[in-house]
């Protein structure tokens, strides 16, 4: 399949700090690609280089086979970017700013007007079109940021922490919108440190830490690679001298007040659950509560780096 973004051996340092230490990424056309990592891992620098905001030092980046330096007009026309940080403007309304943005991409004002209007309506900022950025709420600013990324109808959408600082409702609305974009054929590169976001949206994920890609793959494959999930079962006091029936399982038993708790360590909790419940009930255990703990990308990150993503 055609590569939308091809990054080879990207290196970048700021003064004495190595920000990127040989990043390789191949993002296929139509993919919803997640770049997952903690703050300072190198996500924004990678995006900055792809989009021309950060100077390329070593390595190469191609967009649909064209070099971002030699063919910058072509490559930038294919990309829409929603940066992590909000910017501001003291002079113009958000509608005017979107029309300017379309103009920079070479879209004449007459053609840009209906495009901008449609995007503003879709993102729910049409009513605020005459407002200046500073008078918008955080959520509205985020919508405006995304609108800017869409004015040139890009084939590749780069979203740098698009849901940072927004409320749950807007987060879900943005997720739905991104899913719709993806369904319509856009290639999306999403950077996030929200595990749930990456798991819900991305069909391929790279985990970046300290300027290096430490693992990549489909989210479910990455999760399976760390394996362990667990099933926590709380039950009324049981006869601990007759626990032979639990031998096929790997488990730990604890007692708290009048309850026993068994934690079963399993590779696939959903698959193992019926079997465990069946055995427990057949052996006259009285179940009070059952809880499944599935591994997630956070566990993948912890197993790879030894720390949590949001530490």
């Amino acid at each position: 399949m055609e590569l939308a973004i091809d990054i080879k051996d990207l290196k970048k340092s700021y003064k004495n700090t190595l920000a990127l230490n040989g990043i390789d990424l191949q993002i296929k056309k139509g993919q919803f690609y997640g770049l997952l990592g903690p703050n300072g891992a190198g996500k924004t620098t990678t995006i900055g280089i792809i989009t021309g905001l950060v100077k390329l030092e070593e390595g190469s980046v191609s967009i649909f086979g064209k070099d971002i330096i030699k063919d910058f007009r072509y490559t930038r026309s294919k990309i829409g970017v929603s940066p992590q940080d909000f910017n501001s403007d003291w002079f113009f309304s958000i509608e005017k700013l979107l029309l300017f943005q379309a103009g920079y991409y070479g879209i004449p004002s007459s053609n840009a007007k209906p495009i901008v209007e449609k995007i503003m309506k879709k993102l729910g900022i049409y009513e605020k079109r005459k407002n200046k950025i500073r008078s918008l709420s955080g959520g509205m600013k985020r919508r405006f940021q995304i609108a800017k990324a869409l004015v040139n109808d890009p084939d590749i959408l780069i979203m740098d922490e698009p849901t940072a600082g927004v409320d749950v409702e807007l987060r879900h609305m943005l997720w739905d919108y991104l899913k719709e974009m993806h369904k319509n054929g856009k290639t999306i590169l999403l950077t996030t440190h929200y595990i749930e976001e990456a798991e819900k949206l991305c069909d391929y994920v790279s985990i970046i830490n300290e300027g290096k890609i430490v693992s990549e793959g489909k989210p479910e494959e990455l999760i399976q690679s760390v394996g362990k999930g667990s099933i926590d079962v709380e039950l009324n006091k049981m006869n601990k001298s007759k626990l032979d029936f639990l031998e096929p399982f790997k488990y730990t038993l604890s007692t708290k007040e009048d309850m026993d708790k068994i934690i079963f360590s399993v590779n696939n909790p959903e698959k193992s659950l019926p079997k465990i419940i069946d055995i427990l009930t057949k052996n006259n255990c009285e179940l009070n509560n059952v809880r499944i703990l599935k591994p997630n990308l956070e566990d993948v990150f912890v197993s790879l780096t030894g720390r949590k993503i949001n530490d």
């Binding site: 700021y14 989009t51 910058f72 007009r73 026309s77 970017v81 002079f91 991409y105």
Partner: protein, 254 residues
């Protein structure tokens, strides 16, 4: 291939920006120049009736025009550039298919127009208030344009180098304003002692004022050709350095 639509959009934005705040960018120059004409001209004219055969009030007008042109052109690009950096607006442009050269040129044109408009308005004010003659109108227009361009480019340079508003204020207050006032706005350098006369001759702003005074009043302390050569030289230097710094992304890209 040039991104004409992108380039004209950014140029239009830069022009709209200063027009949208015309009370700050157009009117003050006119008021200040009018006050200079009334206060300096009418009061000092009693003591200095004529310089090189023209009344003192009219003699200072070319300098006042240039003062407006220089400060407005320079301020426009310097503040626009710094504002875009501080408010993170630059990234909106840097991610688009606009070349750095096109962006730099759009900024320079915006500042040039502001300087030029301010110059023309003060010129008209002088013609209206004190019946200032204009001996070589085409030359006047050319000089107003080229000096606006030169100092708009200088402003871009200042904007690129600056990281705070304080940086811009320092350059304006400690370098540009003294150079303007010492460039012969209010006097002929022939009136200065020999040492200070020699010092004035290394002040580039002296030549742009002298050039305009010659074009408007047909008088000057130094040859017009030298003034033109100095003005063009300054324009080339400021334009080249500012565009080059923009091209390499100095203090613009991380």
């Amino acid at each position: 291939m040039i991104n004409w639509i992108g380039f004209s959009t950014l140029t239009y934005r830069e022009i709209s920006r200063f027009f949208s705040v015309w009370r700050q960018t157009i009117v003050p120059g006119l008021i200040t120049s009018g006050l200079y004409m009334i206060i300096f001209g009418l009061t000092l004219q009693k003591r200095i009736s004529e310089i090189d055969g023209v009344s003192y009030t009219i003699y200072i007008l070319p300098g006042l025009i240039m003062m407006n042109v220089i400060t407005n052109a320079l301020n426009n690009t310097a503040s626009s550039m710094l504002q875009m950096k501080l408010l993170q607006q630059m990234q909106d442009m840097l991610i688009t298919p606009l070349s750095n050269f096109e962006m730099a040129l759009a900024f320079i044109i915006g500042g040039t127009l502001r300087g030029f408009i301010n110059g023309i308005l003060v010129l008209l004010l002088g013609m209206f208030l004190v019946q200032m003659p204009v001996e070589k109108p085409l030359l006047v227009l050319f000089l107003l344009f080229i000096v606006s361009w030169a100092f708009s480019s200088a402003g871009l340079l200042v904007g690129i180098l600056s990281e705070t508003w304080d940086n811009i204020a320092t350059i304006l207050n400690f370098f540009v304003t003294p150079l303007i006032f010492l460039g012969g706005v209010f006097y002929s350098i022939d009136m200065l002692p020999p040492f200070w006369r020699q010092i004035s001759l290394v002040n580039p702003i002296y030549y742009v004022i002298n050039g305009l005074r010659y074009s408007i009043l047909n008088i000057g302390d130094t040859s017009f050709s030298i003034s033109i050569i100095m003005t063009i030289f300054m324009t080339i230097v400021f334009t080249s350095i500012s565009i080059w710094l923009f091209k390499i992304g100095f203090r613009i890209k991380n």
